[in-house]
Symmetry: C2
Subunit: 340 residues, 2 copies
DNA sequence: TGAAATTGTGCAAACGTTTGCGCAAAAATG
DNA sequence: CATTTTTGCGCAAACGTTTGCACAATTTCA
């Protein structure tokens, strides 16, 4: 049997409560006694029992991490693992634990989340996506259960805690980067616009055009379908049109990679005929030929900040909802720049 | 305050113990009573308190997931997220939770693992890698703490539980696939051989050659350095030698991708001049040009099986150590086959 | 029909903490 | 020096389960 608070108390010649208070550095224990207790703890290799401590203080010191319900493809994006690593790393430091929640459908997720919250398995959830009309997010909101979004909230914006990049600004910068290279015919390829990041990036793209006096061409602004085949078809169509764009902002490296492939097939040279800027700065951006200019969104730090906010709100329940903006930066590579 | 076992007991007109036993479907409670209790639980939306239950039954229903201590690049491999998803999914079903442990160095990992095990935060660890002389694995072994390896154990093989692919067989099949295409000059590019999977794949490669009467050329069998620059140098050297191989087995898709790049630079056509087979069947294999023939190792299922074994051993502590071999399969694509 | 075995349920003591409250002893105050 | 205040610590009751044991009620058996 592991060493308990009583063993320490006995060795130090104090009561269990004193030991407990020493652990939390409670001010009403004299430094002298604390030292005595600490030595006893050290000697016995004492570590407070997590379950007992949680039961007594009515919390779980556990954070749920919700992956988007989705097909396998999505997860190839290294964004998720990096965010998880960030969260874990912060949790490890703060003596919290975290648990990944995953499911194929929203319903599956929801049911796991319901039992987790009811049984007190977690103190809150970090949701690794933000999407309109998502039943999971809606449920958490309606129940008043603590959650943090990675991505921008789409409703109840002032009441929800979220960590995000400034995707509008990022896309704006990406677009302006292309404009500076002399491009005027710039397209945007996005994914499902009910996902907040995709919608925001589109908005930033449009903003940049407007601010630079470039008219928005609706044909240039595409919400690509989910299936890869249909994506390829749509891209092919865009690139074969008479009024072909000379530069494209793409919402994701993986998609940009596919785009590069199509360009090659169509004998369009990158960046000469088509310049590309994309998002995430994942390994794929570095491996692609030509290498992709990409906006790094600091997914690891998104995770860190999310965990930090979460723990902050767990420990101070009446804190107001905060929004955190994590910086991004443009990494210029071959796909957008002739002079490099 | 959430609904407790006492509330249910009161509503059902029984004692708390009866409710508890009903939850576990204890045989000594009559079906009649159970039904009554179940209705009460239903009505109140009761969910047993996780912390209290764990404290009373002296476990944590929590599994630690240990990521390899490493630089960022490693994690781009979708293997890890898939394994985590597998573990999570199984845990979610079984009402277990899981917590990711990550750190930049072995020491950092070790310290987190030590406090986690001492404080009873976890019942066991699933280690997502297997490496020789790893201080984390050694610590777990020496302390007699429950752990499951994903990858082959390198020592105390009969006392450790591990989940693995048959990497020897897989590499053998990969190599034989190349031999069947008429190749005789086949090279192997591996990573750090202290990582079990890399060593095994090399062994399988050599076995296939031997069994097919092909002499092993030491120059063909390379353990590539960690830094990308050095990797490129080594590969360039291999491909520029007078006695250039005509086919290569590569231990990882990412590395194979780099290899493709170098081939293109050297104007070597794939698969005509160089055929390639690699491992993991990640998105990158499908996106590469030409698409990579790759061995799918079923990382999601590796996770599932690991979690399953873990829970099995938590609940039956005197079970013997099992080894689980998860099937792989060769996915043939353009990089190895002219006739497709 | 009475004793023994079986069945179904409840009592109460754990599990290892946290924390409000009480109470000595020490320090400060007049 | 008596009184009040402060300081430092311990007592004991929670927290919500699980589970060994006791025991009444029922069934089985001789």
């Amino acid at each position: 049997m592991a060493v308990t608070i009583k063993d320490v108390a006995q060795l130090a010649g104090v009561s269990p409560s004193t030991v407990s208070r020493t652990c939390k550095d409670h001010p009403s224990i004299s430094e002298e006694t604390k030292e005595k207790v600490r030595q006893a703890m050290q000697k016995l290799g004492y570590e407070p029992n997590f379950q007992a401590s949680n039961l007594a203080s009515q919390n779980s010191r556990t954070i749920g991490i919700v992956l988007p319900p989705s097909a396998r493809e999505t997860y190839e994006n290294s964004f998720y693992l990096e965010a998880i690593r960030g969260i874990s790393s912060f949790c490890n430091q703060k003596q919290y634990i975290n648990t990944v929640v995953t499911g194929n459908t929203e319903e599956e997720l929801l049911s796991v989340i319901k039992t987790m919250s009811r049984s007190g398995q977690v103190d809150g959830f970090i949701v690794l996506y933000s999407k309109q009309d998502d039943i999971v997010i809606n449920h958490l909101y309606n129940e008043g259960f603590l959650y943090v979004l990675i991505g921008k909230a789409y409703q109840n914006i002032n009441q929800t805690i979220y960590i995000d990049n400034d995707n509008i600004l990022a896309a704006q910068e990406a677009t302006e980067h292309l404009i500076k290279q002399g491009h005027k015919k710039i397209a945007y390829l996005g994914g499902d616009n009910s996902l907040m990041f995709s919608a925001d990036r589109r908005a930033g793209y449009q903003l940049a055009l407007t601010m630079n006096g470039i008219a928005i061409n609706p044909d240039y602004c595409q919400e690509l379908p989910f299936k890869k085949k249909d994506q390829i078809k749509a891209i092919n169509q865009l690139l074969s049109s008479d009024d072909r764009p000379t530069a494209i902002v793409v919402c994701d490296d993986i998609l940009a990679f596919t785009l590069e492939d199509i360009c090659e097939e169509l004998k369009l040279s990158i960046p000469k005929d088509i310049a590309i800027v994309s998002f995430n700065n994942s390994l794929i951006a570095k491996l692609a030929t030509p290498k992709l200019t990409s906006i790094d969104v600091n997914s690891y730090q998104l995770g860190i900040e999310a965990a930090s906010q979460m723990i902050n709100h767990i420990e101070n329940p009446n804190l107001m909802a905060t929004k955190i903006i994590v910086p991004h930066h443009l990494v210029v590579r071959e796909s957008s720049s002739l002079d490099r």
